[in-house]
Each structure stands twice: as structure tokens, then as C-alpha cells.
Chain length 235, copies 2
DNA sequence: AGCTCATGTGAAGGGCTCTTACATGAGCGT
DNA sequence: ACGCTCATGTAAGAGCCCTTCACATGAGCT
């Protein structure tokens, strides 16, 4: 009956050796499957092959595990955004758009982390480490906005970079939350979320006075009235 | 010991009379307090003064109750947005901005409905009634975008209204989700969410070629380079 | 070799979800 | 007014989960 259990016990001995990590991984899998509410402490323990009480040696309770996942998620998120930003190479606008795509890519490729971060009900502002991790991620966007704001064409009022960052973050987050996940639980879209975000950001930047053609060719003068960021003008 | 229970029973008799509604209200209260994951079928039953099994006469399971709340939420949401839009009176831009504020106001004043709608993990696309209710709400935004798109100045390419609606919806939702709730569980902001959204939408509209001064005065020619939607230009 | 303490186990209390068999009484037809 | 019927509520219970507590194990240090 308890064949598997004894089997596993035999394989690993009384002590697991790396239970904390194993629990985190198990939880990630479960969250990806069934959402942050569906994951169960006992289930994670089962997956790791330990008794239901074992996890309590590593996490005060279920919420603390969730909180740890969210924190790790923010750290990975920061790394992903930082890598996409690449300190503004090859040019600010290109890199900026890449950050937007990275935002959506993260939500899509790491749904478990993403939902732990934003949809699990974990009180971000209660946990300093979580708060810090979250802010560090946001600071990537903010830094990018800062650099972009510095590029405002002459004669145009320079927008507050913080505000820009918040706008971009909000739009990215909104698209990710409403349409951005692979699981069928979200609404369908007549286009890819990435396209939607890219168009939105381009329009937004244009509204701030930037002349954004197709992002790559930042130098050439634009004929920006006949076609828009959403593609060729309808006839 | 079971004084209260008997008391209540005496007050209402064996049959509650309006249990379904009472359960919905109780659930709403619980969700507002503890989030969609924190609410419990048994708790709602207790609040209504009935046994834990009684709710099953009115809802297949816990999820169906949640789903009902979400659906009702979308209906109220639609009403709120429709009222704000007021068919574009007194002018399209003013009404459009009012819709944005209504979006945030709903998220703030009805956090229980809002989280049931967007954060409870209810699969919107699985339930036709929910889907329809959700689409009807979105259609208000879409109709408003349609009207706005029709106003594009001559010489400017007309943007797809659906895309506009999706952008506005996403930004609104992003702001609401990240900063828009009264409960402390969200991030702090150096300004009101409403201001943030209003500025974002104005910038966005300007990016589409609209000349949006302060929204009220849609006729006068703009001197739109010295100051921006975010307030007076910094010195 | 012996100690110690972090790590894991078993058992148990309490709570929740959901099912099944039974109880109650409101509404209806006669 | 009488009695039926069926929607609505109850009691009891199986199964699962969270969490705690006393106890077991063995890895690492002396």
C-alpha cells in the first residue's frame, strides 16, 4: 500500500536534504496547474515525499511559502526586465519596447510566479523583503523611463519620468492580466498581446512628443500623419 | 450555548425565505474583508443563520456562488460605466474621461465585486452568462472609443476603435489592479489613481492626434507644447 | 564515541467541502 | 378547510487540509 512512500524513504533516508527547495518547486508546479488558491501545503509535501507536517520546519505557514515564491518571482522578474533593457542598447526606444515585451513574456512563460506576485492576495506592503524586491523590479522600468524622458525633443515639455513609468507599467500589467496568459481563463484578443502593448506604448510616446516611426530608425524624419503605430492607415 | 441559533430559528422559522440573496450578500461582505480566497461557504451559511448544507440548495458549489457574484458585478459595472458615459454628453472627450474615473471608482467602492470579477480565478470564458455580462461592460468602453475615433482630426489616420478601447481598458485595469484599492494590500502612489489615469489617457489621445487641452474646452486652438496633461511644465 | 539540534514523523484537533437520508412547511388543487 | 407535493433546510458523516505537539532520527561537531 505505502509502497511508493517506503520506496522514496529508502532512496533518500530520513532526512530529505533539500526539502525547502523541493517544496518551492512543487508549489510552483501546483500553482501553474491550479492557480494560487488551488495549491495545497499537503500536496506539496506529498510531491516531495514527506509527511504533511514537514513543511512547517521551513515555512511558518502556507502564506509564507507563497510569499517566498512571490519574492523570488520579483527577483526573476527584475532580472528579465534588466536583461531586456540592457542599459538602453542599441538605442533607448528599441530597448524600451523590448522591456514591454519582456513584461508580457514573463507573465506568459512564468504564470505561476506571476500569479503568486500579483494575484495571490499576498500583502506586498506588509513584507519588507517582498516590498523591496517588487520595487527593484519596478525601478528597471523607472530607470528606462528616466532615460527616455531625457530624450524629449526640444520645445516639448519634459514629462515626469515616474509618471511615464507608472503609465507603462499599468498598461503592461493590464494587458498581461486581461489577455496575457496562456491558460484559457482569460479573454480572447484579435491580436497578440505583444502587438497590442507595442502599439499602445508607441501611441503613448507619441503623445509625449516623441516621433516614433518604427523604433529602429530613430534618426530619420518621420511622415507620421499618414500611418500610425497600429499599421498601415485604413483606406 | 446554541442560544443565538435557536433565537434566529425562532425569528425566521424553518425556511429562511430569501436565502440565496442572503448568501450572496454575506459572501460579498466576506470577500470584501478577506479576499475571494478567504471567503468560505460555511461562513456565509453561518451569517445567514442556516446550516452548512443549506447553501447547496441554491448553488452547485462554492465556485458557482463566486461566479454569480462576478456576473452581478459585471452587470453593475456595465451600469456604472454606461451612466458615466451618458451617451457622450456633454462632449465626447469629457464623457470619455468620466468613464475612466468610473472604472476606478467601481474598483474602489466595490472591491468585493471587483475581485470576484477579475481576481478570483473564475474562468470567464467557460460560462456564457459571465462572458456575455463581461462583454456588455466592455462594449460601453468600446462604444465610447468608437465615437471618439470618429472625431479624429482631418489629416490624421483614424485609429481602430477596438484597439483604442483595449488600450484604455488595459491601462484602467492596470491602474486599478496595482494601485486602485482602498485596502492596504496595494502599492502606494505619489498621486491619486484617478489623476494618473486621466493623465495617461490624455497623453494617449494626444498620441492619436487629438488635441486635448483640458478636455472641457474642445473647440479652442491649443498651445500644446508648453504644458502637458500632467500639469504645468516644470521650469 | 557521544551530544546536540535541525529536520522529519505520527497522531490529533478543528475547520471546510460536499453528499445522502431525512424533516419541515408553503403553496396548490380540490 | 384538507391533504399532497416538492422546494428548502437539517443532521450526520466521509474525505481533505491546516496546524500543533510530542517524539524519532541522524548529520555535524567536540
Amino acid at each position: 500500500m505505502s509502497w511508493r512512500k517506503e520506496q522514496r524513504r529508502a532512496e533518500r533516508g530520513y532526512h530529505h536534504g533539500n526539502l525547502k527547495e523541493a517544496l518551492l518547486q512543487a508549489a510552483l508546479g501546483l500553482i501553474a496547474e491550479k492557480g494560487p488558491g488551488g495549491f495545497t501545503f499537503a500536496d506539496a509535501a506529498r510531491m516531495a515525499g514527506v509527511s504533511p507536517a514537514a513543511p512547517y520546519r521551513h515555512f511558518r505557514d502556507r502564506d509564507e511559502l507563497l510569499s517566498n515564491i512571490a519574492q523570488r518571482g520579483f527577483e526573476l522578474f527584475e532580472q528579465a526586465l534588466a536583461k531586456a533593457w540592457d542599459d538602453g542598447r542599441p538605442d533607448t526606444v528599441t530597448a524600451f519596447m523590448r522591456v514591454g515585451r519582456a513584461y508580457l513574456a514573463f507573465a506568459r512563460s512564468e504564470p505561476a510566479y506571476y500569479s503568486a506576485m500579483f494575484e495571490s492576495g499576498v500583502p506586498v506592503d506588509q513584507n519588507p523583503l517582498l516590498m523591496t524586491a517588487s520595487e527593484r523590479a519596478f525601478n528597471i522600468i523607472r530607470a528606462a523611463a528616466e532615460r527616455l524622458a531625457a530624450l524629449t525633443p526640444p520645445g516639448v515639455a519634459r514629462p515626469p519620468a515616474l509618471m511615464m513609468a507608472l503609465h507603462i507599467w499599468s498598461m503592461s500589467h493590464g494587458i498581461a492580466a486581461l489577455f496575457g496568459r496562456g491558460d484559457g481563463a482569460r479573454r480572447k484578443l484579435p491580436m497578440e498581446p505583444e502587438e497590442l502593448l507595442e502599439a499602445g506604448v508607441l501611441i503613448y510616446l507619441r503623445g509625449l512628443g516623441f516621433s516614433t516611426e518604427t523604433a529602429a530608425e530613430t534618426e530619420k524624419p518621420a511622415e507620421a500623419t499618414r500611418s500610425g503605430p497600429w499599421g498601415p492607415a485604413p483606406k
